[in-house]
Symmetry: C2
Subunit: 190 residues, 2 copies
C-alpha cells in the first residue's frame, strides 16, 4: 500500500467536521505515516487539539459497526490498518442538527470530529484497527453525558455497506433512540 | 485476543525506560484499549508527556527490523496489531551508556523511551502495526541530530529472533556504527 498524497484538509457540509489526506511513505519494510502532526495540521486550519488520551479499537471482522456517539470532546480519528465506512451526524443545536456526512477512510485519510457531532463506523475489512486522539479524559461518568442516535434510524437513511441486520454491534448501540427523540448536545460552558 | 490486565508501570535497568501493562477490553466486536491516558499514567509515575505528533509504521512481514535510533525527544510506543521483539540501548553519557534492555510487546503492552535511549524492533508477525507519540516535531534537520548504533553490533549482542541476515532492513539502518564509535547523545540544553 502506497499513497503519496500531500497533506491536505477538506471541509464538509457539517461545520467543523474536516477530512484529511495523509502522506503515507512506502518502502521495502512497509509504510510510515505522520498520523497526526500538530504544527503542520494547525497551519492548514485544523483546530489546535491538545490530546490527553489515545484510544485504539480492534475490529475482528468486516461488518463490525459502532455508534452513533456524540461525545463532549473533540476527536481526531484515523485508521491504522484496514478500512471503514464512516458516518457522522450533527447533534448540536442549530440549523445543521441531523445533517449526515459519510465517507470511507483507509490509512491515507483521517477525520477531525468536533464535540457534539455523532460518530459511527462500519469496518469494510477483517482486522480493521481504528485509532483516535481526544482532548479530555474518558470516564463512565462522562459517558452519561454522550448524546446517542440509532444507526438504523430511517430519518438518517445511512446506506451501510453491510446491512445492520448482518452486522456485529454492541447491545448498547442497538438501543439508541431515533433522531426525532434526541435532545441536541448542549454547547460547552466557556 | 483478550488481556484483562490492570494498568501498571514497570521500571527497567535503563533509567527512565518504563514498560506498561495496558488493560484490553474484549467483546463480540473485537477489543478496545486506552492506548495512552495521561492522567492515569502520570498518577502511576510516567512522565507527563505532551504529544505533538503521532506516528504509525506498518510492517508487511515478520522480520522487518528498524533501528537503532536515539532521538532528541521522548517517545511513548505501543502496538496496534501484531507483536514485536524490541531492543533499547542507553546512548546517554554516563555509567549506563551501552546498557541493553529487550522484551516483546503486543497490544497489551507499551513502553516509554526517554530522549537519548536508542530504539529498535523486529516484527514477530506479518502486518505488525506500530504506533508512537512524541513530544517534539520531527524534521529532516532534526534527524541529523539522532544518535545511531548498529543492530548487529556484537558488543550489544542483541539476540534477534530472526537473524538480521534474513531480516528486512533499510539501507540506512545497515550502515550505522558500532557502539565503540558512538558519541553519546548530549544532554538537553535547559
Ligand atoms: C471510550 C472508552 C471505553 N472504554 C472501555 C469501556 C468498555 O469496556 C470498552 C468499550 O467501550 P464502548 O463504550 O463499548 O465503546 P464503543 O462502543 O467502541 O465506542 C467508543 O469507541 C469507538 C471506537 O471503538 C468510538 O468510535 C466511539 O466514539 C466511542 O464511544 O472500553 C475505556 O476504558 N475507555 C474509553 O475511553
Ligand atoms: C520519523 C519520521 C519519518 N518520516 C518519513 C521519512 C521517510 O520517508 C519515512 C520513513 O522514515 P525512516 O527515517 O526510514 O524511519 P524508520 O527507519 O522507520 O525509523 C523511525 O520510525 C520507526 C518506526 O517505524 C521508529 O521506531 C524509529 O525510532 C524512527 O526513527 O517516513 C516522516 O515523514 N516523519 C517522521 O516523523
Amino acid at each position: 500500500m502506497e499513497f503519496e498524497s500531500e497533506l491536505a484538509v477538506h471541509r464538509t457540509d457539517i461545520p467543523g467536521l474536516v477530512v484529511l489526506d495523509l502522506p503515507v511513505h512506502g518502502d521495502n519494510r512497509g509504510w510510515f505515516k505522520e498520523n497526526w502532526q500538530r504544527a503542520k495540521m494547525v497551519a492548514l486550519g485544523l483546530p489546535d487539539i491538545r490530546p490527553v488520551q489515545n484510544n485504539i479499537s480492534y475490529n475482528t471482522s468486516r461488518g463490525v459497526t459502532r455508534g452513533i456517539h456524540a461525545e463532549p470532546w473533540d476527536k481526531y480519528i484515523s485508521i491504522a490498518i484496514g478500512e471503514i465506512f464512516g458516518a457522522w451526524v450533527d447533534l448540536r443545536p442549530g440549523a445543521t442538527f441531523g445533517r449526515v456526512f459519510t465517507c470511507t477512510l483507509d490509512p491515507s485519510k483521517a477525520i477531525f470530529v468536533p464535540r457534539g457531532v455523532g460518530n459511527a463506523f462500519q469496518t469494510l475489512a477483517d482486522g480493521t484497527t481504528y485509532t483516535y486522539l481526544v482532548d479530555a479524559h474518558w470516564s463512565l461518568a462522562q459517558k452519561r453525558t454522550y448524546t446517542f442516535v440509532n444507526l438504523a434510524d430511517p430519518d438518517l437513511a445511512i446506506d451501510w455497506p453491510i446491512p445492520l441486520t448482518a452486522a456485529e454491534l454492541s447491545d448498547a448501540d442497538r438501543a439508541h433512540p431515533p433522531l426525532r427523540e434526541v435532545v441536541p448536545m448542549a454547547p460547552k460552558r466557556t
